[in-house]
Amino acid sequence: MARQSGGAGAPKAPAPLPGARLVPRGGIAGHLVKAVLLAVSVGVAVWAALPLAAAGNWIGLAAVVAVTALVFWIYLSKRHIPAKYLLPGVLLLVAFQVVPVLYTIGTSVTNYGDGHRGTKEQAIAQIEAASVAQGEGADDYVLTLAARGGAATGDLVFLLTADDGRVLAGDADGLEPVSDASTGPTGKVTEADGYTLLTAAEAGGRSEEISEMAVPAEEGTGIRASGLSAAYEGRATRVYDADCDCITDTSTGEVYTADDERGAFYNEDGDRLSQGWRVGVGADNYARVVADPGIASSFFSILGWNVVFAAGTTFGVFVLGLSVALAMHTRRPLRGRTVYRLLLVLPYAMPAFAMMLLWRDMFNADFGLINRMLGTDVDWLGGTATARAAALTINIWLGFPYMFLIATGALQAIPRELVQAARIDGAGAWQAFRNVTLPLLMVAMAPVLIATFAFNFNNFNAIWLTTEGGPFPSDSPMAGTTDLLITYTYRLAFGGQSAQYGYAAAISVFIFLIVTLISYLSLRRSAALEEVNR
């Protein structure tokens, strides 16, 4: 039908759908449901809009308003019938597929990651704050937080009790003695004329103000609070100067200049301050992927094994699943068929995580069940061929029940008469299966097989929880012989705890391209399989 309506004559206004007259006119219940659903969409929009507005994210807010307006426009109008069906899917597609892909591409051209997360201003503030140090022999005080006037709004004052019992009042202008203060046993001021003492909760409410306050004492030092009851005289040893866009370390005289291309402060020797910021790095991450000698040498071998793993798993689960399904597909119901089916589906019903870890332990060279049962001494996970065999075995074991279920269903949908007719015409059992059952089966199974292939191509858990990509030849600690592209790149991007999101995003874009290509090729192949049906 789609073919017929293609070609010329498209620009005309769409004819009403054939069944339009049969569509029930909106009853009161329908309108009510519609109203509730639209109300929910407004509710969601408001729920999303308030934090966005609070954070000043106007682009996000505009997007929310636009989407909500679109929803109302489409569903309150009598027209746009196809759009009414398409809109939810399209919105979800944009939200969960298109936006993440664009975001990943956007991230891949930055140095975003540990040490480069925030803005330059945040980095400078952190560097200065972290550099505040108490000088040698500088004074400690017992602190009482107070305010001139109301506890919540009055000017903040540090009442400082020195070692000799004197009490000083410090504010942004400096120190002055307080004569009539009385102090408790710990040195804390209990009462002082003209000052309102702050309770802990009141101080908590003005936390930011208190953390930022530094009472000027001697040249370049400030008295800062450390908690609610201690204060110390300290000096920021690293100071930012906007004129030279640099940070000077006053204790060593070292000057660190901002490098806006790398997103950190560097000194002449090339040493950096650890707090950096996020900057755009153009195609650097992509260049790093391409230029990495490890990637260049191991990419194709990993890709090769990756294809073998995905294809081998798909083939294995298909053959095993189908064989079992055929064995159970007897003319008269097998005695105890339900029990067999239950047992066969069991691996599928178990949590895959636990099963993979269990299998890994069974393949252990010294303590594993497999070596003990077979009486062998094979270092399964320590050798390339055996580790690959182990990974495939585990994955096929986990995957075949699903294929068994699909094949059972598909077999039952094929009329037995067809096979019987073929047998009467003189075909052998194999011939009948090969030329009658299998082609009909493939119509139902081909899309599942393609999905299985695509899933296993990126089956991170199947490798990470079993071999972890190992064994690793001694000359390549980053690329193991059972690594898939996804596990390999995960290790590259997140080796250990350190996160390099920009680099990881660049690698993800490469994987995205590879998977896109493979999906495209498989879909064309599946289109070819459908020809069988015509």
């Binding site: 009161i28 925030g118 802990a200 101080a203 908590g204 450390s226 609610l228 980053m478």
Partner: protein, 412 residues
């Protein structure tokens, strides 16, 4: 026909807006941000901290909330939450996170009043000091030690050789399955191999002016590291066969608890299981190779950090300075999870009742703080794999060189 349906449609739209408006009208009142303190800790500490947090909250008229996060995710979640501006005020964690937390601007230095720092174990204070600043208040220490089954091996071995000899003899007699329980796994475990690696002369980093490990002076790949790994290889699968890749974190506890190995290189975290299993055990420092350096395992220090993005930094500082640095909380934390406490007086008080504690402290005596620099995260994985390869019988020089290349590539 059209006008007739227009009304219900307009009505539907209006009703939708009205419904939405009523739904929003009942929104919760703005939360009183002032006076509430949020602490993030792993599940094991959460219960211990809860009463102290409540007490602190009542004494100061603030609401304190202790939130439990899985131990493997807590550091990453903390950095992400900090970035989003929704992090806690206090983080409880390991000192080796400091480098990463500082480079992300997620924690602030702590100022202990007067001589308070002197009341802590020196090693613990050294561990939480980074770039010359104190970044956390420590409360417990942990390091690898040698736990032995006293029925099988009554005497603490003085050297690796002695330990291997005893263990191998027991194995040959069929009394045990493995001579030594030290987790290696297929991907290696530099943390657990560190005592042997350092005893044989290996190091991970040099030291910079501020006393921190120096990432530009990598110890992996030096001649000393290759020689150290050659020494380790002698214990490996092609040598004595006491270090094996088949022994990993999942089966090593069971080996010792079932009496299938006389020696177990582990930390305080395994003691609870060993006690439950009823094994007669004793603790001693991990021995070094004969005639070589002392074994220097990693020292890990659990501490409290002040989040730089917290809404209640003042209260957080108050809690840490005036509670964590006090014996009551440190004692409670020790009782919940017996690891050597960082406060000296707590250690001294507990030492008499707990013979394990003195032994653990002795084992920690030679320990060096685990590097807190962010570059350390680039070392674990490649160096572990090199160690696994060497233990599996491959050439140490090649394996160490490849690890060095991979690490340098990551550090940049």
């Amino acid at each position: 026909m059209r006008p007739r349906t227009a009304t219900p449609r307009a009505l539907a739209g209006a009703a939708a807006l009205a419904l939405a408006a009523t739904a929003c009208g009942s929104g919760e009142p703005a939360e009183d941000a002032a006076g509430s303190l949020v602490i993030w800790a792993d599940p094991e500490r959460t219960d211990v901290l809860q009463p102290f947090a409540e007490e602190f909250g009542e004494a100061n008229g603030v609401r304190v909330e202790v939130q439990s996060l899985p131990v493997d995710d807590i550091q990453g979640d903390f950095v992400t939450a900090h970035e989003a501006g929704s992090g806690p005020d206090i983080l409880v964690g390991a000192h080796d996170w400091i480098g990463n937390l500082v480079q992300n601007g997620a924690i602030d230095p702590v100022q202990l009043p007067g001589d308070a720092a002197e009341r802590f174990d020196e090693g613990a204070v050294e561990a939480v000091t980074y770039q010359g600043r104190l970044y956390g208040v420590p409360y417990a220490m942990e390091s690898l030690m040698l736990v032995r089954n006293t029925e099988l091996a009554p005497e603490a071995p003085a050297t690796v050789e002695e330990m291997v000899e005893t263990g191998t003899a027991l194995k040959e007699d069929g009394e045990v399955e493995e001579a030594l329980g030290l987790q290696v796994s297929q991907t290696g475990d530099p943390f657990h191999l560190q005592p042997f690696y350092t005893s044989a002369g290996g190091s991970l980093f040099g030291t910079d002016d501020e006393g921190d490990p120096d990432p530009s002076d990598l110890g992996v790949g030096t001649d000393a590291s290759v020689e150290a790994m050659e020494k380790v290889a002698e214990l490996g699968e092609e040598g004595e066969g006491v270090l094996k890749r088949s022994i990993d974190g999942d089966n090593v506890n069971g080996l010792f608890e079932r009496g299938e190995t006389p020696y177990f290189v582990t930390g305080p975290w395994s003691l609870a299981g060993i006690k439950d299993a009823g094994v007669d055990y004793a603790i001693s420092p991990v021995p070094g190779f004969e005639g070589m350096d002392e074994a220097r395992p990693f020292l890990g220090v659990q501490s409290f950090f002040v989040a730089s993005g917290g809404e209640n930094k003042v209260l957080a500082e108050e809690f840490i300075v005036n509670n964590v640095a006090q014996p009551e909380l440190a004692t409670a934390l020790y009782e919940a999870d017996p690891r050597p406490p960082a406060l000296r007086e707590v250690f001294e008080a507990a030492e008499a009742d707990d013979p394990d504690l003195a032994a653990m402290m002795e084992a920690a005596g030679n320990a060096e703080p685990m590097p807190a620099i962010p570059e350390m995260s680039a070392v674990w994985d490649p160096f572990g794999k090199a160690q696994a390869a060497v233990i599996g019988g491959e050439d140490p020089a090649g394996a160490v060189d490849s690890a060095e290349q991979a690490i340098s590539e990551q550090i940049g």
